[in-house]
């Protein structure tokens, strides 16, 4: 146990929390507004990462710039998936809904495996990748800091949209009462479409950032599906506001375990399970 590492772990945790919140908030949007538990959410994230990688390799696009292409691309992909499949199971049993998204996830992940193979892919030669600052003995990389700032802006933007804009208010209305929202003239199906596409877009932008932070493989999406679920369960299914706090808890816990426990890297996933588990037991106590 190295106590002097704790401040560094806390800072890394907070920086990671931005990205986690960005991914989880999209999942919460799908659950809260549409009522779809999307097991393919992490795969949107993965697709975003690999699109950024491909844009970099083929055209030399800077990842920051490629966000401008990846975001609309993921919006379209999300919309297409909603139109071609999700919309048909909205009234089906929950089991079918979960299985459908799980199947979509399998397809996306294995499609990526077929196209890019299973090896990690690195976006090298980005000038800012290795820059870092030291502040009172704590190292802060430009990339994690940048991803944190972008994430905060996007999550803040989403909250603002939900609170202030017409689309956002429509989403909240549909989330509260589908029938009622339809009765006052909202096109419920359109709102669902936009919410799902938006959720894919947010995950995709997160993916662009992970492509710079790590060297992802096509299985990165699955790992982030789990992370996003841990956060969403902690916040309460469908609760969009609680995501930021839950993301902070999850990211800091992960960072502390990885730093303080010897060989803690493999136990990182155990952190998510522990959080999911504790949240579950807590909730069952409260409802019982």
């Amino acid at each position: 146990m190295e106590l002097s590492l704790i401040p560094q772990a806390l800072v890394s945790g907070v920086l990671a929390a931005g990205l986690y919140a960005l991914v989880a908030v999209g999942l919460a949007l799908a659950i809260g507004v549409i009522g779809i538990v999307n097991f393919a959410h992490g795969e949107f994230f993965m697709v975003g990462a690999f699109l950024a990688y491909q844009l970099f390799v083929s055209f030399g696009f800077d990842p920051l710039l490629s966000i401008l292409i990846v975001a609309p691309a993921l919006f379209v992909i999300g919309a297409l998936i909603y139109q071609s499949s999700i919309r048909f199971v909205l009234k089906a049993p929950e089991l079918n809904q979960m299985l459908l998204t799980f199947g979509i996830g399998i397809i996306l992940q294995n499609l990526a495996l077929v196209i890019w193979g299973g090896d990690p892919r690195t976006i090298s030669n980005v000038p800012y990748r290795s820059i870092g600052y030291e502040l009172m003995g704590i190292n802060i990389g430009v990339v994690p800091l940048g991803s944190f700032v972008i994430s905060v802006l996007l999550v803040g933007g989403l909250y603002w949209m939900l609170a202030r804009t017409r689309v956002g208010r429509a989403m909240r209305a549909v989330a509260q009462n589908r029938t009622g929202a339809g009765l006052v003239g909202l096109e419920v199906d359109r709102v669902y479409l936009v919410a799902f596409a938006l959720s894919a877009l947010l995950a995709g932008i997160g993916g662009v950032m992970i492509a710079v932070i790590q060297s992802p493989t096509p299985t990165v999406g699955f790992a982030f599906t789990l992370k996003a679920f841990a956060i969403v369960v902690l916040a309460g299914l469908g609760n969009i506001r609680g995501i930021v706090g839950a993301a902070l808890v999850v990211a800091i816990a992960e960072s502390l375990v990885a730093t303080l426990v010897p060989d803690g890297d493999a136990l990182r996933n155990a952190v998510f399970f522990a959080i999911i588990f504790i949240a579950l037991v807590y909730r069952s106590r409260r409802t019982a």
């Binding site: 009522g35 538990v37 097991f39 499949s85 048909f88 199971v89 009234k91 089906a92 049993p93 929950e94 089991l95 079918n96 979960m98 299985l99 459908l100 799980f102 199947g103 979509i104 996830g105 399998i106 397809i107 996306l108 992940q109 294995n110 499609l111 990526a112 495996l113 077929v114 193979g117 299973g118 589908r178 699955f222 599906t225 789990l226 679920f229 841990a230 369960v233 299914l237 060989d263 493999a266 136990l267 990182r268 996933n269 155990a270 998510f272 399970f273 522990a274 999911i276 588990f277 579950l280 037991v281 909730r283 069952s284 019982a288």
Partner: protein, 356 residues
């Protein structure tokens, strides 16, 4: 329970005499099927000679897939989505591996013990999570798999081999008798013995599936699946019934995992706990027809054939077929192959009525 408050459709309760008749019919079919499995190796050998070795290994994989599928269906009958079948498969595989590596245990002990360990794990996981809303259960099972994998990886290397895994001794070592047999016959004998073991497990899985279908458990499971709240009002204990299905299902998968560890010769965390296993376990019964016994069996034969063909051209990503089959099944044939078959026979029957 549906979150949007749709009207639950409850299947009509079974009339007992009919159920009894159905049971004896199913048992006879199971017996016939077991007999076919018994003669399959001899028949293959007579027909194909040396090539029968690879046909037998394909048969073993198909049987393994059928076991996975039937056991997953058992949990699905209670309306639960289990994404933890890889965890129980891996638990069974590692039980026998750790047992043989660290203790002077008999070669066969790992098979029943693998089932017991998987069952106990399922009991623990289910006791906490099965009381909850379905979504939480699915998420918890998904996370559970990752944790069991992480824990096995973190165990001391001397005990569980870490990421490099453990070698597992084969169950059968046929001896080569020069002059009396040919080289390939050793492989054939080994495959034949494994095939019988797998087939035995499959028959157990079929019997469990049939008995659940033809007993009062069927009504209990169906009631819980269609509306948990109504079921509990009518005196069915949802938590206990769900737990029963989950534990039996997981124990069967645990035995399968142990068998596979022996047959494949080694276990590694990435392989034993691969999501792959869970995917196979759930796609097969959905494609064949949920809540039936024949559906998963049909689909296992069909899908293992497709997988075999596809593996030749795609090294990675052949699971894409399973994803596609899953999506197509959910969207277009929610009752699977069995549902398709029913539709065809019903139409024929209707046409028959029109033409006297």
């Amino acid at each position: 329970m549906s979150a949007r408050g749709s009207v639950p459709k409850v299947e009509a309760a079974d009339v007992t005499p009919r159920r009894r008749a159905g049971l004896s019919r199913d048992l006879i079919f199971t017996l016939i099927f077991a007999g076919l499995l018994l003669f399959a190796p001899t028949l293959l050998r007579a027909l194909f000679g040396q090539a029968s070795v690879s046909y037998l290994s394909l048969g073993i994989r198909a049987v393994a897939l059928a076991v996975l599928a039937l056991s997953w269906d058992l949990v699905a009958r209670t309306g639960q989505l289990s994404l933890a079948h890889a965890a129980f498969y891996g638990a069974g595989a590692y039980t026998t591996a750790i047992l043989l590596k660290n203790f002077d245990a008999p070669l066969w002990l790992g098979l029943p013990l693998g089932g017991i360990v998987a069952g106990v794990l399922a009991l623990g996981l289910g006791a906490v999570t099965l009381r909850l809303y379905g979504i939480y259960f699915a998420i918890a099972t998904l996370a559970f798999t990752e944790v069991v994998k992480a824990v096995v990886q973190e165990l001391p290397t001397a005990i569980a081999g870490g990421t490099a895994g453990v070698n597992v001794a084969p169950l059968f070592r046929p001896t080569f008798v020069p002059g009396e047999m040919e080289r390939w016959e050793i492989a054939f004998l080994r495959n034949q013995n494994y095939f019988y073991l797998y087939a035995g497990l499959l028959v157990v899985a079929i019997l469990v599936s049939v008995l659940v279908q033809r007993s009062r458990l069927r009504s209990a499971f169906t009631a819980i699946r269609t509306n948990e709240f109504v079921a509990s009002v009518m005196g069915v204990n949802p938590a206990r019934n769900k737990l029963l299905g989950f534990v039996i299902s997981s124990a069967i998968v645990g035995v399968l995992g142990a068998l596979e560890a022996h047959r494949l010769g080694s276990v590694i965390p990435e392989g034993a706990f691969a999501v792959h296993t869970t995917v196979l376990a759930l796609v097969t019964p959905i494609f064949g027809g949920l809540y039936t016994t024949i559906g998963p069996l049909l689909a296992a034969g069909f899908l293992s054939g497709i997988e075999e063909t596809l593996k030749r051209s795609l090294a990675e990503g052949y699971l894409i077929v399973y994803g596609a089959v899953l999506v197509i099944s959910i969207l277009f044939m929610p009752r699977g192959l069995v549902g398709l078959f029913d539709r065809v026979t019903n139409r024929r029957r209707r046409e028959g009525e029109e033409r006297p």
